[in-house]
């Protein structure tokens, strides 16, 4: 019996659905089953520290949204609506925190604002203090890092929303007698609500899953992500599982609540508008003040990057009590590339990021190719949902779930012992990368004109030839965009790595952590600089295509 193309497609869809379900849903199911442990649940419920961590996770996430919005939204209005000298350059600089992998950003803050950081040393020198004036620790420190790294989401989303705004609507409101504030409150804000809701969702989810900042700055202050890793390191696996399921539930509830607020994008329904005209700031004094404040802010944003660069030039043991390091040299970078034990993490991260990105791109391409013929109004296919699902859950959740699933040898239930092997961490990177590549590649497929593939077919190209000669070249921008984002996410990953790494595949972030532990700050910073530069380069390449 021969197989018709339709049957082959259905078989392909089934196979891909099952593969994705095995990667994405199965570990979560195993995790949930593992959490049905009476003793562990009892421990969780009766232990006040657990409730404290849960509460901390939630309020830190909400506070991060408030702070990031408080910085990002006014900045977006400033850059989108007003004109002042240096607006373009500053507008680009202001997105800089985006190229700092979360963990690298955290250590940069440590070097800058930590108790022995530059700022503390400067204050100490100026006032002649015996001891460091502060300790960078606890909830305040975490929020500082979150505000710094997450306001970018609000800034970019709000600017995008404002750029779509039809200026004539605002003029209409003013013509109807609404003052500036009334227009803002009754017209502008409701119209950009979908952008604000999108940024709120993104910041909340990112803050809830944030691990690096609480891990480094938390001290005794625990949130769920750090609590889970601590339980796991203590060997309390059942408790860690319960905690992970609780965190996953919070994430899902948060997602559901915030999604409801998102609503439909009314701007799309109303069609294109005229772009707003930027108003130059007329009064010279105000203009000078705005410009100065803008540049000061940019310097503030650049400081962590500069700090990282400077610390990476400090040789081991040469900097003790001075405000600025007395010796700078490239010796840390030389050691990085000369000593095999130091070079290894760089190579590990590079191959794992490359392999997981390629795998995630291949899965996304397969999904796109299988789903491309579906009519636009059709119900959401399970494959699409499976690709998007890992985004809804914090990285810690997937790390623990994968560790639980692949610590048992049971081929009949599709479980093998991968814990302790080098394969598990890249597999986790693949899962974490699926939403990134999936979103980019599926969007790329949606923009393809189906007639192009038909044209190739009518010119004698078979399915594979049409894919290779027409579809793939046209998808290059989408692949570059999704691939570069996935690559840098995997390259700088810390949250998954700390749960799943082994000595043989220890990635850069883990090596930074161990260098910090033995006070080799220069080496840690040098690794950070390499990550930062690699991220910026890859992002630049991805954006140019």
């Amino acid at each position: 019996m021969s197989v018709t193309p339709r049957q082959r497609r259905a078989l392909g869809e089934l196979a891909l659905t099952l593969l994705l379900a095995w990667l994405v849903v199965y570990p979560i199911a195993i995790l949930t089953l593992g959490a049905a442990d009476r003793e562990a649940i009892h421990t969780f419920v009766t232990h006040p520290g657990e409730w404290g961590a849960l509460w901390a996770s939630i309020w830190i996430s909400v506070a991060s949204v408030v702070l990031a919005g408080g910085i990002g939204i006014p900045l977006a209005f400033l850059f989108e609506w007003l004109d002042f000298p240096g607006r373009r350059t500053l507008g680009t600089l202001i997105a800089l925190p985006a190229v700092l992998p979360p963990f690298v950003g955290v250590i940069a803050f440590l070097f800058l604002y930590g108790e022995s950081g530059f700022v503390a040393r400067a204050v100490q020198a100026v006032f002649g203090l015996e001891q460091s004036p502060w300790r960078l620790q606890g909830a305040g420190a975490i929020l500082l890092v979150h505000a710094y790294s997450m306001y970018v989401y609000f800034y970019l989303f709000t600017r995008a929303g404002l750029a779509k705004l039809d200026w004539s609507m605002l003029e209409a409101a003013q013509a109807l007698g609404a003052g500036r504030w009334a227009t803002l409150r009754r017209v502008t804000l409701p119209l950009i609500r979908p952008s604000l809701a999108g940024a709120t969702l993104l910041v909340f989810m990112t803050a809830l899953g944030s691990f690096s900042a609480p891990y480094v700055f938390g001290g005794g202050f625990r949130v769920m992500t750090t609590q889970i890793v601590a339980s796991k390191l203590n060997g309390e696996l059942a408790l860690a599982t319960v905690e992970t399921v609780v965190l996953a539930l919070v994430a899902i509830i948060g997602l559901a609540l915030l999604r409801r607020g998102e609503g439909d994008d009314v701007l799309v329904a109303l069609g294109k508008g005229t772009a707003p005209r930027r108003r130059p700031i007329r009064r010279a004094g105000v203009r000078g003040l705005a410009t100065a404040a803008g540049w000061l802010f940019a310097v503030l944003l650049l400081l962590p990057h500069l700090t990282l660069g400077l610390v990476s030039l400090v040789p081991y043991g040469t900097w003790t009590t001075e405000t600025l390091p007395p010796v700078v040299s490239l010796v840390n970078y030389q050691r990085l590339f000369a000593e095999p034990a130091r070079l290894e993490p760089l190579l590990n991260s590079a191959w794992m990021a490359a392999a997981s990105t390629l795998a995630a791109l291949a899965l996304a391409l397969a999904a796109g190719e299988l789903l491309r013929r579906r009519s636009p109004g059709a119900w959401r296919h399970p494959i699409e949902s499976l690709l998007a699902l890992p985004w809804a859950l914090p990285g810690t959740v997937f790390a623990i779930a994968l560790a639980a699933t692949f610590s048992v040898h049971s081929p009949l239930t599709l479980r093998w012992v991968l814990v302790g092997s080098v394969a598990l961490l890249p597999l986790a990177y693949v899962v974490r990368n699926l939403p990134i590549t999936g979103r980019a590649v599926l969007a790329g497929f949606r923009q393809l004109d189906p007639a192009l593939e038909e044209a190739a077919a009518s010119l004698g190209a078979g399915r594979w030839a049409a894919f290779r000669r027409v579809t793939l070249p046209l998808l290059t921008p989408a692949l570059a965009a999704g691939g570069s984002l996935a690559f840098i996410a995997a390259l700088g990953d810390f949250v998954t790595s700390i749960v799943l790494y082994t000595y043989d595949n220890r990635p850069i972030s883990i090596e930074i952590m161990s260098s910090l532990r033995v006070s080799e700050l220069g080496i840690a910073a040098a690794f950070g600089v390499i990550l930062m530069v690699a991220s910026a380069l890859v992002l630049g390449v991805g954006a140019r295509r």
Binding site: P5, D449, A451, L452, E454, A455, A456, A457, S458, L459, G460, A461, G462, A465, A466, R469, V470, P473, L474
Partner: protein, 328 residues
């Protein structure tokens, strides 16, 4: 005429309510056939079934006696020009034309390059090989699409609304050039259009489709003068549809629906009486809307000075076509 492309009882069901076919057509070698019909009549579906982009539920497609019903598009050797041309944006003109030739087209002087040059010469685009397709005008893009479809020497050429994307002022000239080119190549051609003028001008024969069914396949003259159905009579050209006393007065039998072209009606001294309600002047002639004494309104084409608005007139038909009242 020996049949070159044969379509037999081709059927495709979309939803529960929409069915295309069964449609049967026989097309001779080198013939140009238009598929004409209103939107939703199934003409594009038939073209896509022929190209192999859709699979029929029943029926058969054969070329030169070879059954290609189950063949994939790539295996049919049918050339297709898409409505929006579907030129590959990542390839230049030469690479687009070379796509179906099994080569890249880059090699100077090779067999592929000379075939590309030949195809481009055919559509009057000599030397355009290295131009990016985005820089071409709409008319040039259409000719590249045509050259690309013709380069692999297909057995049948399919065109989906070939002129709909062009400037109206360009259309008439392009239509003549297109017909001359197809005749020069001598390729069997089917094209889809919703414009009667285009179908008549370009097609040797025209297949009129309505609600998924083939109403008539005939030459333009025959369609106009001897329409097989009431739909064809009213869809092709201007037509007055009359029933009752007016129909009988103009020569129809009892219970018949009568179709009369405006230019076949004339004012006389005695005939069906009515009053001129409107006059539209078009230059060489004028159209008069006449309201008959039984209330029926119809259009008469006559000399610009033949009657005035409000004047009482008598109308006779030089030629009418009677149809049995369709069962509704």
């Amino acid at each position: 005429m020996t049949v070159f492309l044969e379509v037999a009882e081709l059927t495709k069901q979309w939803a529960h309510t929409v069915t295309v076919g069964p449609v049967s057509l026989g097309i001779g070698r080198g013939e140009i056939v238009a598929l004409l019909g209103p939107s939703g009549s199934g003409k594009t579906t038939i073209l896509r079934l022929l190209a192999g982009f859709e699979t029929p539920d029943a029926g058969r497609i054969a070329v030169e006696g070879e059954d290609v019903t189950a063949a994939p598009p790539a295996g049919r050797r049918f050339g297709m020009v898409f409505q929006h041309y579907a030129l590959f944006p990542h390839l230049d003109v030469g690479e687009n034309v070379a796509f179906g030739l099994g080569g890249r087209g880059k090699g100077e002087g090779g067999p592929v390059a000379s075939k590309v040059a030949e195809a481009l010469a055919l559509v009057d685009l000599v030397g355009f090989e290295r131009r990016p397709v985005q820089e071409l005008s709409g008319g040039q893009q259409q000719r590249v699409a045509l050259a690309r479809a013709l380069a692999p020497e297909p057995r049948v050429l399919l065109l989906d609304e070939p002129l709909s994307n062009l400037d109206p002022t360009l259309r008439e000239r392009t239509r003549r050039e297109l017909r001359a080119l197809i005749q020069r190549v001598g390729i069997t051609t089917l094209f889809v259009t919703h414009e009667q003028e285009e179908a008549f001008d370009l097609g040797d024969r025209v297949a009129v489709l309505n609600a998924g069914k083939l109403e008539q396949l005939a030459t333009p003259d025959e369609l106009y003068e001897r329409p097989a159905t009431l739909f064809v009579a009213t869809f092709v050209g201007r037509a007055n549809v009359l029933r009752g006393p007016a129909a009988r007065a103009l020569g129809g039998r009892d219970g018949e629906v009568v179709v009369v072209r405006p230019e076949r009606l004339r004012f006389t001294d005695a005939g069906f009486p009515g009053i001129v309600r409107e006059r539209r002047y078009t230059g060489p002639a004028a159209f008069y809307v006449v309201e008959g004494d039984d209330g029926a309104r119809f259009e008469v084409q006559a000399e610009p000075g033949a009657a005035r608005v409000g004047e009482r007139v008598y109308v006779q038909a030089a030629r009418m076509i009677g149809f049995a009242e369709p069962a509704s």
